[in-house]
Amino acid sequence: MLVNLYVNNVLKKYHVQAGEFLLDTLRNDNYISVRRGCDSTSCGVCTVLIEGKPVPSCSVLTIRLEGKHITTVEGIQEEAEKLAHYFGLEGADQCGFCNPSMALTVYAMKNELKNPTLETIKAYLVGNLCRCTGYQAQHIAILHYLEDRS
């Protein structure tokens, strides 16, 4: 079946099977920043934005998304670079496998929450697992990113 998606504001036409998940559709189309971590909604690594909202692409059927706007990290390069800058200063990036999903979730949070506190940041990002950093350096970097209005 044919589905029309706007991926990072570009119209894409995908021929998909009924059971195809968005993660596979995007990876097959070379959006390789979208990565598979657990395949069962429990790690956050495959996060993309649908209409600006973070979702687990491993568990969203592509066929249900006709006409929807999908954002991958390729669509928010400037914001990702800015966040990466602060991650770099805190040594918070380590293996980087989950960082495109982190950039997307933080970006969505910035749009959704006004002046989030450390606790609300933690609560918003709790589904984004990280085994490398111990999280704290990420939080410091994210707070600095949110303060940067440039």
Binding site: R36, A80, E81, G91, D93, C95
Partner: protein, 772 residues
């Protein structure tokens, strides 16, 4: 210092966050066959027959490989130096399956759907055998997990497969039984640790292809590319000269990617079909069919005099290596060698035990291996002893622990699988670490505990720890530095960046010595065709061993540069001054810039490529030390524990990159907290792992993570590059003991089996209250 000990963003961080390709699975060719592995549903069985006729007929199935397709050539997947201290007890596929999830066969097909469909069409008949699921009953069990005649040890490691013993060991200094008899206070306790899962975010991945020279190219998410090359060559009897292993970016390893996973299977498929192939583990496979931390029982006896002088430590360890013996001996030995020297003033020590086979997921390397188990037992035992002595546990440690310029006879006796290396502690700031930690946690006002309300008690607990910096005389690192035109360098290292940032810190070391900036030192790791040898990212070796190799290479390059500058300026090299950018001839105005010199060497005069390679093998392994302090709130009505704060004070010498070093410590602390409190491993009675995904196996989320206060002691290790020791593992060691000590200080309950779930705490608490 310009580059070292300076905040420096990691070289790959920005690109990776912006979504650039980098990981193994990003380099799969579009026409690659997709491999799926059929795995055993039984913990122990013999394969009677395999009927794959239907699967073979399926369009798109390219090959099915099982034990019938391979010579019987045992090897070990452990990913260690050669000859390995692990038994050669694994075949590519075998007619026996030894745990739920063990490999039966593999299917390679044009896509994932076809491969999975093929798996479902294959019928395997098993003769189900009686499994060994309790590691305390494994030794001399009637069920022999490895009856096959071909398996062997490479040198004596106490391998007795007929008794289900993968390795065994015994050492003693003095007569521990005699000393204990004379001690005024003795305690004896048993501790249990669980099969923690690495849970790196990137699942194990490999892809393989033949290149235009018909060489086998393997992209692998590995910590040990050179070992992978050697092991594949051995296991498949394939010329090593025809194998190239490329390690791209790796999404976390923590020891889980030291050993081989799907690399052999994928290589076999490509060799058999001539086609590119890819194998990515599902998360379930990562949990069930890779490796875990070795579960252990540690029986520990410690004795002291009433004045608080520790006299003797006796430790028997029973370790469960699961179905195969990867790292069986080495992990077990580290439970002694990187723990017992902490208390170096005892009269006698004994460390002995067995590593047994069971029908569980194999155990392997995991950050802090052995040390975390041993530390949990010893540092818990010390608090128990202090309680019996009526002595302050801080004073006791300060009196008995290792100090600078001291040593322990254990260093000479115990190595990893072999004898050890005697060494003095040229740097050991443990006393500072303890003192500073006490201040940071505000120990004196909080110890042992205080009541917050009718059911919350706030308490503190602590532990000290040590690690190593590589394995002396075994771990070798090497580095190549190449000068390019315009005066920038390539730094080629076999050292394996797996996300810990080693590319960055090695570039910093080279840049520091060559007085250039990090952006002019382009690191590349690792590729067995292009980069020089390195044993790999394990045993806390990269900063110290590989870092020393890089420093040596940079020094040699500096000499060469000065020689060439002297040539260009027609003077003796002693007359050349160099600041990283400009070569000045003394007592003259003549000079040449690095840029000019490098261009001249490429294009104009006396042309040559400047490229140097140096190697380093350690003659010692200077241990990093730390003290860890936890503050917890314990709910006495529910057993729930909230960790409020964890203070770490670490002596790892000079931090090459302060923020990345902090990241190593903090990441490891949180993994240690996971082991202490959350990461429960549960099997069914029939030996199937229940906790096989992120919904049932709980690594700490950011909500459980306490405030982390991490500081480094001022320390400068003479044998380390720019004063550095390694820092990859030390952080993981203290949380189990520190948290258990805090739990005891809160409510008088001593948890001796990890993790300390609220249920265990509450049950113990109720039992204790009932007894009173």
């Amino acid at each position: 210092m310009k580059s070292v000990n300076v905040i420096t963003p990691s070289v790959d961080g920005k690109g990776l966050m912006m979504g650039k390709a980098g990981y193994t699975n990003d380099y799969v060719l579009k026409n690659a066959l997709i491999i799926k592995v059929l795995r055993s549903p039984h913990p122990f069985a013999k394969i009677v027959s395999i009927d794959d006729e239907e699967a073979k007929k399926l369009t798109g199935v390219e090959c099915i490989l099982s034990h019938k397709d391979f010579d019987r050539r045992p090897f070990t997947r452990a990913g260690q130096g050669y000859p390995e201290p692990s038994p050669h007890d694994k075949f590519v596929f075998d007619e026996y399956v030894r745990y739920v999830g063990d490999e039966v066969l593999c299917v390679a097909a044009i896509d994932e759907v076809t491969a999975e469909k093929a798996l479902s069409l294959i019928k395997v008949e098993y003769e189900v055998l009686e499994p060994v699921l309790d590691f305390e009953k494994a030794m001399n069990n009637v069920s022999v997990i490895h009856p096959e005649p071909e398996i062997h040890e490479m040198f004596p490691i106490g391998f007795e497969p007929k008794k289900n013993i993968s390795a065994s060991y015994h050492m003693h200094i003095g007569n521990v039984e005699d000393t204990l008899k004379k001690c005024e206070v003795v305690i004896k306790e048993s501790f249990y640790t669980q099969a923690q899962a690495h849970s790196m975010m990137e699942p194990h991945a490999v892809n393989t292809q033949f290149d235009y020279q018909n060489r086998l190219i393997i992209y692998s998410a590995t910590q040990t590319p050179f070992h992978v090359r050697r092991i594949i060559s051995q296991a498949l009897n394939y010329p090593i000269s025809k194998i190239r292993v490329i390690k791209p970016r790796v999404g976390g390893g923590f020891g889980g990617k030291q050993a081989i996973h799907g690399e052999i299977i994928a290589s076999a498929v490509t060799i058999k079909t001539g086609k590119p192939a890819a194998l990515v583990y599902t998360r379930k496979e990562v949990f069930e069919s890779s490796y875990t931390r070795h579960p252990m029982r540690l029986d520990i006896t410690v004795g002291a005099d009433k004045d608080g002088t520790l006299k003797a430590i006796d430790c028997y360890v029973l370790s469960d290596t699961g179905a195969y013996g990867e790292h069986a001996l080495t992990v077990f030995m580290v439970a002694g060698s990187k723990v017992l020297p902490l208390y170096n003033k005892v009269d006698s020590v004994r460390f002995h035990g067995h590593v047994v086979y069971t029908n569980h997921t194999p155990a392997g390397a995991f950050r802090g291996y052995g040390a975390i188990q041993g530390n949990f037992a010893l540092e818990s035992a010390v608090d128990i002893l202090c309680n019996k002595l009526g002595m302050d546990p801080i004073l006791f440690r300060q009196k008995n622990m290792m100090k600078e310029n001291e040593t322990s006879p254990i260093f000479a006796i115990m190595g990893e699988g072999t004898e050890g290396t005697a060494m003095m502690m040229e740097t050991c700031k443990l006393d500072y670490c303890v003192k500073r930690g006490l201040e940071l946690i505000d120990w004196n006002n909080k110890y042992p505990s205080k009541k917050i309300n009718d059911h919350i008690v706030r308490s503190v607990g602590m532990a000290i720890a040590m690690q190593g910096s590589g394995i002396p005389y075994i771990d070798m690192g090497s580095a190549t530095i190449k000068l390019n035109d315009d005066g920038f360098y390539n730094l080629l290292v076999g050292a394996t960046d797996i996300g810990q940032g080693s590319d960055t810190i090695l570039a910093q070391i080279a840049a520091e010595e060559l007085m250039t900036s990090v952006d002019k030192m382009i690191p590349y790791s690792s590729d067995t065709d292009l980069t020089p040898f390195d044993t790999g990212a394990y045993a806390s070796s990269t900063t110290f061993v590989s870092g020393n190799a890089v420093l040596k290479a940079a020094k040699t390059m500096k000499n060469k540069l000065i020689e060439e500058a002297a040539n260009a300026l027609n003077c003796a090299k002693e007359e050349i001054g160099f600041d990283g950018e400009i070569f000045n001839k003394v007592n003259s105005t003549e000079s040449i810039t690095l840029k000019e010199l490098s261009n001249r060497l490429y294009y104009n005069s006396d042309q040559k490529q400047l490229m140097v390679t140096e190697s380093y093998v350690g003659h010692k392994s200077p241990p990093p030390f730390m003290a860890g302090f936890a503050e917890i709130d314990l709910d006495t009505e529910t057993g729930e524990v909230k960790v409020n704060k964890y203070c770490s004070v670490v002596d790892c010498g000079v931090t090459i990159n302060p923020k990345l070093a902090k990241g190593q410590v903090e990441g490891a602390i949180v993994q240690g907290l996971g082991m202490a409190l959350y990461e429960d491993v549960v099997y069914t009675a029939k030996g199937k792992l229940i906790t096989n995904d992120f919904m049932s196996y709980r690594i700490p989320s950011r909500m459980e993570t306490p405030e982390l206060i991490t500081e480094f002691a001022e320390s400068n290790e003479p044998s380390g590059p720019f004063g550095a020791k390694s820092v990859g593992e030390i952080g993981i060691d203290t949380p189990p003991a520190a948290i258990m000590n805090a739990i005891y200080n809160a409510c008088g309950v001593r948890i001796k089996s990890l993790p300390a779930t609220p249920e265990k705490i509450l049950m113990e608490l109720r039992r204790k209250n009932h007894e009173q």
